[in-house]
């Protein structure tokens, strides 16, 4: 153990071992349906996990808090849904179109928002996404309050997606590809510059980096990946609604990333799982609590998900800022340090 830790410090290439862990994680996810997991649920979690990973690329690795990421999820959900349903495009093309539309929206949003930093950046992105929400609310192509219903799945490179299990592996493949892209980005020289911007923007500028350009590229990449998540979600669930573009969804993705651990690779996946499972199960929890405590109000807990997510938000910000994965890896590192006092 101790030898392994010090070896990893001496030979940076040995730190690549997390890749094995990721491979095991994805193998495990691939086998979930065999253990009776409900494929649609896992696919939904994967879509939100991708959404959170894309968001984390900004907050965790570039230090930018976007409060408007729902705009990209919603844009892609509607554009992909429209391309698949109305224009009858092949599924891969529809997904790509959704992601591209979201990246284009990200280019405009990012171009405007990077003019301000810190807290203003968050407010600008929130306001811009609310503007897009009103555009979606009024445009005829989104179906207004009803949303875009019964989007066909079609087939993916010859595989018919009507079968849930086939769709499951396609979605997993999309997720792994996107995760790999994020991993490569974070661990590339480009990603190192992003981290340096997060740590000390002024110093990055003084070293000669065009900080605004790096931020913009990161923003567009994150928007495009969030779009891929939104397009895939439309494919899985067969509909796109206004909720996808609402500010509460922007808050949800922040919460997922915070719960899982900002700036960790796996954290957003854990966070998405926790929050989606909570949304699905909160009604049951409420009924159980009502039985235990005889307080009838708990029966309506299923309808007040926001109340519970709000409480989790407060608890996380006050006492659990590292998140699940961040906390675990922090403890693991401290243990490793204690066992190698020479450092």
């Amino acid at each position: 153990m101790r030898a392994a830790a010090s070896a990893a410090m001496a030979h940076p290439e040995l730190r690549q071992s997390p890749l094995l862990g990721y491979a095991a994680l994805f193998l495990g996810i691939a086998m979930l349906p065999a253990f009776g997991a409900y494929p649609i649920f896992v696919m939904k979690v994967l879509c939100y996990a991708l959404f959170a990973c894309a968001f984390n690329l900004l907050i965790g690795f570039t230090g930018l808090l976007s409060f408007g990421h729902a705009a990209f999820l919603g844009t892609a959900a509607y554009c992909a849904g429209h391309a698949l349903k109305v224009w009858g495009w092949p599924t891969p093309l529809g997904l790509a179109f959704g992601a591209a539309a979201a990246a284009a929206a990200g280019l405009v949003f990012g171009w405007l928002a990077i003019r301000r930093s810190g807290i203003y950046f968050a407010m600008v992105t929130l306001a811009l996404s609310q503007m897009l929400y009103f555009v979606f609310l009024q445009s005829p192509f989104t179906g207004g309050e009803d949303g875009l219903q019964s989007v066909p799945r079609g087939d993916f490179l010859g595989l018919p997606l009507a079968n849930d299990l086939t769709l499951y592996y396609v979605v997993l493949a999309i997720f792994i590809a996107a995760f790999w892209l994020i991993y490569r980005t974070v661990h590339s020289p480009f990603g190192q510059v992003l981290t340096s911007i997060r740590e000390n923007e002024a110093r990055a500028t003084s070293l000669g980096y065009d900080v605004d350009r790096f931020k913009l590229v990161a923003f567009v990449l994150s928007a495009g990946l969030a779009g891929l998540a939104g397009a895939t979600k439309t494919l899985v669930l067969g509909f796109a609604t206004l909720t996808d573009a609402l500010w509460t969804t922007s808050g949800l993705v922040i919460l997922m990333t915070l719960v899982g651990g900002m700036g960790t690779m796996v954290g957003p996946i854990v966070g998405a799982l926790v929050i989606i499972a909570l949304e699905n199960k909160i009604g049951d929890v409420g009924r159980t609590l009502a039985e235990w405590t005889d307080i009838a109000w708990f029966n309506s807990l299923g309808e007040s998900v926001t109340l519970v997510t709000g409480l989790i938000f407060i608890a996380c910000v006050l006492a659990f800022r590292r998140g699940v994965v961040g906390e675990l890896s922090y403890r693991w590192r401290r243990r490793a340090e204690r066992r190698a006092p020479g450092r």
Partner: protein, 295 residues
């Protein structure tokens, strides 16, 4: 009938007044946001929720206690101010040493809790609240019919906004406050109880939001969602105006309300988005905001 740009003048003036009413709410809320940000370095997302709670307290006062508008105009801001003290002492004070962003996230969580709680009891549909008897009806000014209550809202908001401006810019208390914004440690060294000042600042901002909520109750429907819809527009207002200047916040709020009202007349489809479009233009031309200085 007199017309201007093909729109009957009374209709135009009516929308202008409605715009001023909305602008008053923008002004009251962005003023509170700016003062809180100056002192606490926190963007108070919960400002919309506090406004909503103010409106709900007015409604609940009438529904459960039989307390009318005038009582609640006084009591609701006091109660929400106390709530502000609790929020600041119990939650916010632990975040001052951290990145600003955590303050935004924490107050966002508070917003979700408040909204969720009121939704679970009252649903999402709005509750009507009557206009107080004394302000019923309308005055005929000759060129337009002036609804008394709307005129009252604009007048009260202006007086309160200017009062806050005078308090901060012209009194010694305000001078201490401004000094605390610039350099809290030095002010503390002079023997001022800065933590208490911070608490009172947050409570004051919260009370302003609640006052706006009570004023809004008879104009808009009292609903759990009324705050979050407003706060996002107010964020855009704050980005446009910048938070450096008190008068700047007031003017920007009122001006944008008027522009929004006029948009409703000339191009109703854009009335929801016009503030955001203006924000985008301001970001392009004057990134620091109209009255802002880059921090």
């Amino acid at each position: 009938m007199t017309e201007l740009f093909g729109i009957p003048l009374p209709a135009l003036l009516g929308q202008l007044l409605l715009g001023l009413v909305n602008g008053s709410f923008y002004a009251l809320l962005s003023l509170g946001l700016a003062v809180i940000f100056g002192m606490l370095n926190i963007i108070n997302f919960a400002h919309g929720a506090l406004y909503m709670i103010g409106a709900f307290l007015a409604w609940m006062g009438l529904e459960y206690l039989g307390l009318g508008y005038w009582w609640m105009l006084l009591l609701a801001p006091l109660a929400v101010g106390l709530l502000g003290v609790l929020i600041e002492r119990l939650l916010l004070q632990w975040l001052y040493k951290l990145d600003h962003l955590y303050g935004l996230l924490l107050t966002f969580g508070i917003t979700l809790v408040a909204e969720g709680a009121f939704r679970s009891f009252y649903g999402v549909s709005g509750q009507p609240y009557p206009v107080p008897d004394a302000l019923h009806g309308a005055t005929n000014l000759g060129f337009m019919i002036l609804p008394n209550y709307r005129a009252w809202v604009v007048a009260v908001s202006l007086v309160v906004c200017l009062g806050v401006w005078a308090l901060i810019e012209k009194t010694s208390l305000g001078a201490t406050l401004r000094a605390g914004t610039e350099n809290p440690r030095l002010v503390q060294a002079f023997g001022v109880n800065v933590p208490r000042m911070v608490t009172l600042t947050y409570a004051g901002g919260a009370a302003l939001a609640a006052l706006a909520g009570v004023l809004a109750a008879p104009v808009l429907q009292v609903s759990p969602l009324m705050g979050s819809n407003l706060i996002i527009v107010v964020f855009a207002v704050v980005v446009i105006g910048g938070m450096g200047s008190i008068l700047g916040s007031i003017l920007t709020g009122l001006g944008l309300g008027v522009i929004e009202g006029l948009t409703k007349v000339f191009y109703p489809e854009a009335s929801n988005t016009v503030v955001f479009v203006i924000m985008a233009i301001v970001l392009l031309l004057r990134p620091a905001g109209l009255f802002g200085r880059e921090r």
